[in-house]
């Protein structure tokens, strides 16, 4: 089933231009693995980039440049990419798209999950990049995530299971962007644990009573 909630064109274009930060790019590339429609948007934006690239000027290259490159063409080429890792594959219950898998040290269950609240666990994904934080959120079936607002942008993409909030129902591949105005209370669908990739810019701001108690935990 293809995704029905997509990232904004703005994000897809930034990804195509190469100006999007690395944490957000992980989420976008993961979504693109699952969404032919958004890949088509990115392909067009890249077509635009290619057109600008063709027509936005040239810089003189050094005299020996071509010869230097030709001399390198017969060098042994880099080793072919190894096939996808099989380590931990059998333990994997979720099919994790490669752009995300490349950042994970092991299978989903083997990651070091931190308890955030009843039925909610989080693990941070390490990047070298500055910018927003990226991590995975596991929500037990039927769990209500405490009502919270956002002090910055938050992007969530479902990898397994699903959840529902006032804006709709989200399933594998779906992306929800919450800006600093949105206050929501996602509820995980019954039946299956909900696994989400989350990119957060600011701190989450709990609004309910229980959430206030949990506030220290919500600082990813």
């Amino acid at each position: 089933m293809n995704a029905s909630h997509h990232p904004s064109d703005d994000l897809l274009w930034s990804y195509a231009a190469g100006s999007l930060d690395e944490p957000s790019s992980i989420l976008i590339a993961t979504h693109l693995s699952l969404c032919p429609a958004c890949r088509a948007v990115v392909a067009k934006a890249e077509g635009m980039g290619g057109e600008l690239f063709e027509n936005s000027g040239t810089a003189d290259i050094d005299a020996g440049s071509l010869d230097a490159v030709l001399a390198r063409l017969d060098e042994t080429e880099e080793a072919p990419r190894i096939a996808l890792e099989t380590v931990g594959e059998e333990a994997e219950s979720v099919s994790v798209p490669r752009p995300l898998k490349d950042y994970l040290p092991g299978s989903i269950p083997s990651l070091s999950w931190r308890w955030l609240g009843p039925g909610v666990h989080y693990t941070a994904i390490k990047t070298e990049a500055r910018g927003p934080k990226v991590g995975l959120l596991r929500i037990a079936p039927g769990t209500k995530v405490p009502m919270h607002g956002h002090s910055g942008n938050e992007m969530t993409m479902v990898l397994a299971g699903g959840y529902t909030d006032a804006t709709g129902n989200y399933q594998r591949g779906d992306v929800e962007a919450a800006d600093d105005g949105l206050v929501h209370q996602p509820v995980a669908d019954a039946g299956e644990e909900c696994l989400c990739l989350v990119v957060t810019e600011g701190e989450l701001q709990p609004t309910g009573m229980i959430a206030k108690v949990l506030q220290p935990f919500f600082r990813f």
């Binding site: 293809n2 064109d9 703005d10 274009w13 930034s14 231009a17 190469g18 100006s19 930060d21 690395e22 790019s25 992980i26 976008i28 590339a29 993961t30 693109l32 693995s33 699952l34 969404c35 032919p36 890949r39 392909a43 067009k44 890249e46 077509g47 635009m48 980039g49 290619g50 057109e51 600008l52 690239f53 063709e54 027509n55 936005s56 000027g57 040239t58 810089a59 003189d60 290259i61 440049s65 071509l66 230097a68 490159v69 030709l70 390198r72 063409l73 080429e77 880099e78 996808l84 099919s95 798209p97 490669r98 752009p99 995300l100 898998k101 490349d102 950042y103 990047t127 070298e128 990049a129």
Partner: protein, 224 residues
């Protein structure tokens, strides 16, 4: 940096791609065109795409030299606009062209023109080398990858036509929209910084980008 004198070329239809009726005859004719055009490489998308196919299929160094003459100066210019100094832009341009040679077999003429594909190679190298970040990319070989529902047999024709339409659409963009598009693709800046540089509210930058995207979609016949 981007004055009005830098107009985009008038679009030229890729005649060869548009005439071909079967994959076989098209490939044959494209090969002839590539040979005929000689050392004076033109900016013709079709010729460059054909050169890249020759490199992928026959490891053709003459084709590579011609491709280099056309694209190395463009890659270098792109990198310098992104903040690389002359020496590092030179080094990275060479690196990018070595990459083009090595990865040529991954180029798919049914998905992109040569210029677009080489732009993505240069872009990824830039993120890696200048921004010191990784570039997450989707991988069609990934078992989790969801493929397109169908691929049209004449995709290469469509790519050529699409590129011509994109070119025309860019040429017709109002300057204020063209400016944000260029800054977005040509400087490694998030939209917030572009807004600061142009002394505009972020919302204005985003709405100009949206308008430009909409025009592009209209030009590609996606919205009525």
């Amino acid at each position: 940096m981007f004055g009005v004198h830098e107009r985009f070329d008038v679009p030229r239809p890729p005649a060869v791609l548009m005439k071909g009726s079967t994959a076989g005859s098209r490939r044959g004719r494209r090969a002839v065109i590539a040979k005929k055009s000689g050392a004076a490489a033109t900016s013709d998308t079709v010729v460059m795409t054909e050169l890249l196919v020759l490199i992928a299929q026959h490891r053709d160094k003459d084709a590579f030299s011609r491709l280099f003459a056309h694209y190395a100066p463009r890659i270098k210019s792109y990198l310098m606009r992104q903040g690389a100094n002359q020496a590092s832009a030179e080094e990275l341009s060479q690196e990018a062209m070595v990459s083009v040679w090595r990865k040529a077999d991954r180029f798919d003429p049914t998905k992109a023109s040569a210029g677009t594909w080489i732009f993505t190679v240069a872009r990824n190298l830039r993120i890696d080398a200048l921004r010191k970040e990784r570039r997450p990319n989707f991988d069609p070989e990934d078992p989790a990858f969801v493929p397109e529902a169908e691929t049209s047999p004449d995709r290469a024709v469509e790519v050529g036509e699409t590129q011509v339409k994109i070119k025309a659409a860019i040429a017709e963009l109002p300057e204020e929209q063209a400016e944000v598009i260029r800054l977005s693709f040509y400087q490694d800046k998030p939209h917030g910084e572009i807004a600061e540089e142009l002394d505009l509210p972020l919302g204005t930058v985003k709405s100009r980008l949206r308008l430009a995207m909409r025009r592009l979609r209209l030009a590609l016949g996606e919205e009525q």
